[in-house]
């Protein structure tokens, strides 16, 4: 046996017992459970969460929800109003609007969530390390984030779209590149206050490496606000995708997304006479974003220790 055996005293035994219990999932002061309970008592957040889950599962299992193909052109049924055949009618070239919204949800949610997670990955990993370390790395990244954030976001996004070209992947990358600033700032601010805590001093005294301290020991304590921010960013990116696609500069027009469906509303004739082509998609976006925002707010109320009561 290479591992050195510890002396069998009372303290070690107690410690082993505690660790065993934790491994088996028993934790007397499990804050996750309490936060979850608080979230459950927030009615709006629960409704929001249910709506989000329903929408996501409808778009994942889209082929089971609707029998129409969102891309299939049917020139015999152009601009048909809603009927029992087509729940939300058909668009300019006879595609089923309901199917397009359901399938469009896949892409819109993917863009929103993917960009938010990408932005979180960059923002949090840089923010945690440089915030903890300080020094000139910190000032460099702070400057970079200042530069990115001094652009009005949509202008920067449009600039990058014109440079990188329009595609789904590019859009996610662009949103990630333009949106990491706020997450970085927040993580950094959290780190700046947490690194002065006593347990950090203790860890440093033990001689733990910097990466270990900041990612493994400090970061989990800053996770609550980060999660909230990721949720709210998802909502924001979905809105931005819709705006860009509405301008015709987002996801390529042949892929159905919530924003691309709205693109036809630039045509005044469609806008006035064929409400079912664009309005349902607009309502879907609004309600989905509203629901995500409710969930985000609920999460904030339940994880913020200053509101704990």
């Amino acid at each position: 046996m290479t591992e050195e055996k510890r002396p069998k005293n009372r303290l070690n035994k107690r410690f082993d017992k505690l660790r065993d219990r934790e491994i088996h999932g028993y934790n007397p002061n499990d804050s996750g459970g309490r936060a979850f309970k608080k979230l459950k008592s927030n009615r709006l957040a629960v409704i929001g969460l249910i709506f989000v889950i329903l929408t996501i599962s409808a778009s994942i299992f889209a082929p089971f929800v609707t029998q129409y193909d969102p891309q299939k052109v049917d020139l015999r049924s152009m601009l048909k109003p809603p009927s029992s055949d087509h729940i939300l009618g058909t668009d300019k070239i006879g595609r089923d609007v309901f199917a397009r919204i359901i399938y469009g949800g896949r892409i819109s949610i993917l863009v929103g969530l993917g960009s938010a997670l990408g932005a979180a990955l960059i923002g949090v990993s840089i923010g945690a390390y440089t915030g903890y370390r300080g020094g000139w790395w910190d000032s460099i990244f702070l400057r970079i984030s200042e530069i990115v954030m001094s652009f009005p976001q949509i202008i920067l996004v449009l600039l990058l779209v014109s440079i990188l070209g329009q595609s789904l992947m590019n859009l996610i990358i662009i949103f990630t590149l333009t949106g990491w600033g706020s997450l970085y700032r927040m993580t950094r601010a959290q780190m700046l206050s947490l690194r002065e805590e006593e347990y950090v001093q203790a860890l440093r005294a033990f001689g733990l490496s910097r990466t270990m301290i900041c990612y493994k020991h400090i970061l989990p304590n800053a996770l609550g606000p980060i999660m909230v921010n990721i949720t709210l960013s998802t909502a924001m990116f979905i809105l931005q995708e819709a705006g860009l696609s509405f301008l015709g500069l987002g996801v390529p027009l042949n892929i159905p997304t919530w924003g691309n469906i709205l693109n036809v509303a630039q045509d005044l004739r469609i806008l006035q006479n064929y409400w079912w082509v664009w309005l349902p998609s607009g309502i879907t976006i609004s309600f989905f974003v509203l629901a995500v925002n409710f969930v985000g707010d609920g999460l904030r109320d339940s994880t913020d220790p200053t509101l704990q009561g």
Binding site: I147, Q153, L158, S162, G165, G282
Partner: protein, 305 residues
Amino acid sequence: MILVISFLIYLGLELTPGDAVSFMLPPDALMNIKPAELEQIRDSLGLNQPFIVRYFLWLGGVIQGDFGYSLASGVPIKDIVLDRLPATLELSISALILSSILGVIFGTISALYRGSITDNCFTFFGMLGVSVPEFIFGLIALVIFALNLRWLPVGQRILPGYDSYWDHMPHLIMPAGVLALMMTAGVMRYSRSSMLDSLNKEFIRTARSKGVPEWRVNFIHGLRVALIPIVVLIGFRFPMLIGGTVIIEQVFQWPGVGELFVFNVRSQNYPLVMMVAFLSVIAVLLASFLIDLFTALLDPRVKLE
């Protein structure tokens, strides 16, 4: 910092795919053109010099107010932007003023009657305002007020036959109203929490115990302190305002800088896109500077250095 940004903008637009010359000429003329002539055109546009030289030439020009020429029409960019600027300023400033006033009023009411039905209604509409994309709101307004009720004109700004400045006001109502309403939601949410914060402070209790009338406590003592973070927030939302105008101008075909920008992003007219982006950054930095001054005015504790 502006230097770094200007360099980045220039670098980014250099890498834009698509040859600028091809956007200047109609396709059939481009077919007939000889390579030597093409070179000559490129030379006259300054496209053949090394990158760094072009950057400094450009920067020198910008400082002197020479923004270069639009590649599509050969007209000075300064003229094009100046031509569009009043429309955008008109739209954004009216929206900014309207939303700040409405947002602060609604937020204050909502904080004063905390927990009442009014408060809940305001909070819900605030949430709705943050969640509904502005262009959807704009489209709905367009359908109702312009297409069905025909109260207001559909888009555009100045039509031939308008002689006085106030003639185009009906055109302004919808875009400015929609933009203002979207911004009001955010300002309101923030004013509410800021007002609640300041009403819980000790000096409010002191004022009450001195027998200051209730309205004075709320508006003179409470609101003044609550206003400081609100002003900062309005400043921070300035980039959002610019973003909002880009989309709203498209919805209402408002001939402002935002519409110009989108059009030229599509046609990759890079000197123009570059200048508009650069100007927007300068506008943002200027706004944050003004906000600093304004906070110092409102808050005697803040000192300017």
